[in-house]
Every structure is written in C-alpha cells, then in structure tokens.
C-alpha cells in the first residue's frame, strides 16, 4: 500500500542515448528543462545515476558500440524498473534499420531497443513531441507501482 503510493509519488528517470539523431534526445531534454512542459510537476525527477533510476528512457537505434553499455546500465538499475523506447528508432530501428530495403539495413546498428533489453513502453514519433513523452511516462507509472 505505502509501497505503491511512494512509487507513484517519486519517479526517477534516466536517459540513455544510443546513437539516434539527437532529435528525440532534444525533445526529452525539452520536456525536462523547458518550464513550459516541466516534467517535475508529474513527480518525475531526472537523474544520471542508474542506481537511482526507476525508468530508463532509451532513444535511438542501438549502435553496436552502445549495446554493451546499455546492457550494463540496465543491469545496474535496481528492480522495479521500466524501459521506455522513445522514437521510431528505438522502437524498430527507424530509417537506419528499415529504409535500405533491398540494399539491406545499416550494419552498424543492432536495431530497436527491444533487441537488447526488455521494453515496457513504446512512444512513437520522429521525434515524439514532449507531450507524448510526458503522457507516456505518466501512464506507465501505475505499471511501476504494481511491480513486486
């Protein structure tokens, strides 16, 4: 009971950029730092320490160089944790994985985040608007509270 309330009332979010074009990253930064959006009013606090995080927001198609780092960071987060894949790159690899068609996709990327770590929420857009990100984060919080 208290556990659920406390989890709903303080959420720490950590961002990891895995080689996207920066578009998604900037929009998340906007959601966090722009007073117009202000993520903190939804009780979500930005952190840069995996030990503190509850939600891991990942953007970009995971490049091969970033794959081990992403895995390690995910492992460093104590349960309960959620992963949000933000932007079409993080969902399915975006143009880097799909645009090539017959020519094949880029051989420098692994693809969507779900190929590396389990994903709980997908936020579509290229990039998603800050309000999309905020709404998605707000709507996954009950999931977080319910975990173990």
């Amino acid at each position: 009971m208290l556990k659920e309330i406390s989890r709903k009332n303080a959420i720490h979010i950590m961002l990891v950029y895995t080689g996207g074009c920066n578009g998604c990253d900037i929009e998340i930064v906007n959601a966090v730092l722009s007073p117009f959006y202000d993520i903190e009013q939804y009780k979500v606090i930005l952190t840069w320490n995996p030990r503190e995080a509850d939600i891991l927001a990942v953007t970009g198609p995971v490049t091969k160089k970033m794959e081990p780092a992403l895995k390690e960071i995910y492992a460093a987060i104590p349960e309960p944790k959620l992963v949000a894949a933000i932007g079409s790159c993080a969902i399915n690899g975006g143009p880097y994985a799909n645009l090539g068609g017959d020519l094949g996709s880029s051989d420098q990327i692994v693809g969507g985040v779900s190929k590396v770590i389990p994903v709980d929420a997908n936020i579509p857009g290229c990039p998603p608007r800050p309000e999309d990100v905020l709404q998605a984060v707000v709507s996954v919080v009950p999931l977080l509270a319910k975990k173990r």
Binding site: P35, F36, Y37, D38, Q41, Y42, S88, C89, I91, N92, G93, G94, P95, A97, N98, L99, G101, N122, P124, G125, C126, E131, D132, L134, Q135, V138, S139
Partner: protein, 162 residues
C-alpha cells in the same frame, strides 16, 4: 559589479512575487490537464478531403505502416470515380521516410500538399474534382510511370485517362 547590483535589486522584487504567488508561470496548465487525463493524441496524418483513396501510399510504404480500410460510406469524387478506401496510419510501425508523402499523386503530380504526412498533415483546403481536371505538371516520365504502377486499378484509370 554595479550592473550586477541593479539586477539583484530588480530580481529580488520579481522573484519574491514568483516564489510566493507563482507569478509569470510559464508551465502550460492546459497541457498539464491534457496529459493527466491521457488525452494527448497523435497529430492528424491523413487529410480525408484531399485523399483520393488510390492506395499509392500503402503500396510504397516499406514497413507496411499504412492500411487501406474500406470506407463505410464511399465518397464520390468525380463523375466517374468513387473513393472506396482510405489510408489508416500506424505510427508504431512508421519510420518517417516520407515515401508515402512523396508518392502521393496529389503532391507528386500536381505539386499540392499531399493528402498524407507522417507527422502532421496540416490544414488546407483543396478542391479535388477541380484539381483532377488539370494536366499533370510532373515532367519525368519514369517517375510518373513508377507512381502510376503503385495506384490501384481504378485510380490508375482515373490518372491515365483523366
């Protein structure tokens, strides 16, 4: 240093108001309510009025992010052409390559705003019946053929026979 002092005095006045009365707050309350109620929706991606239901966008899309769905009520566009299907866009699959936009005949043949745009199609008025009467402005024969190949049978007839 003197400037700094002036700023501090002025700032003290402003900021006391801000701290106590939340003066000149920039956070959008409207957006806050929308987000808390879960009402943020994806922007409009298909302009129904401008779409002729030709299926080119669905055929070109490399990741099948567009489905052509049957309209409950077919729309009559010209004397001989009735629109029966319309595109439905799925943002979770899309990778925003703009192929649908660039191959939509409305844009490609006439240089008008396309009826589909994966991000936000925009608001504009278009008179389809009139537009379709005009000659195609695109010059490149190869390109025209490539796009016509994407259209479904009925639309192909409409485009090639006018």
């Amino acid at each position: 240093m003197r400037n700094m002092f002036i700023f501090m005095l002025k700032g003290a006045y402003d900021n006391i108001g801000r701290i106590i009365f939340a003066k000149d707050r920039k956070t959008s309350i409207q957006m806050r309510n929308k987000i808390l109620a879960g009402q943020v929706t994806y922007p409009k991606t298909v302009n129904e009025d401008a779409c002729i239901g030709c299926g080119a966008c669905a055929n070109i899309c490399p990741v099948d992010a567009i489905d052509m769905e049957l309209l409950k009520k077919p729309v009559k566009i010209t004397k001989s052409y009735v629109k029966e299907k319309h595109p439905v866009f799925n943002p979770l699959k899309c990778m925003y390559c703009f192929q649908c936009h660039d191959n939509c005949p409305i844009f490609a043949f006439y240089g008008m705003p396309a009826a589909i745009h994966p991000r936000h199609v925009g608001d504009f008025d278009i008179n389809l019946a009139e537009l379709l009467q005009q000659p195609i402005v695109m010059k490149d024969k190869k390109e025209i053929d490539a796009i016509v190949a994407l259209l479904d049978e009925k639309a192909k007839k409409l485009m090639t026979e006018g």
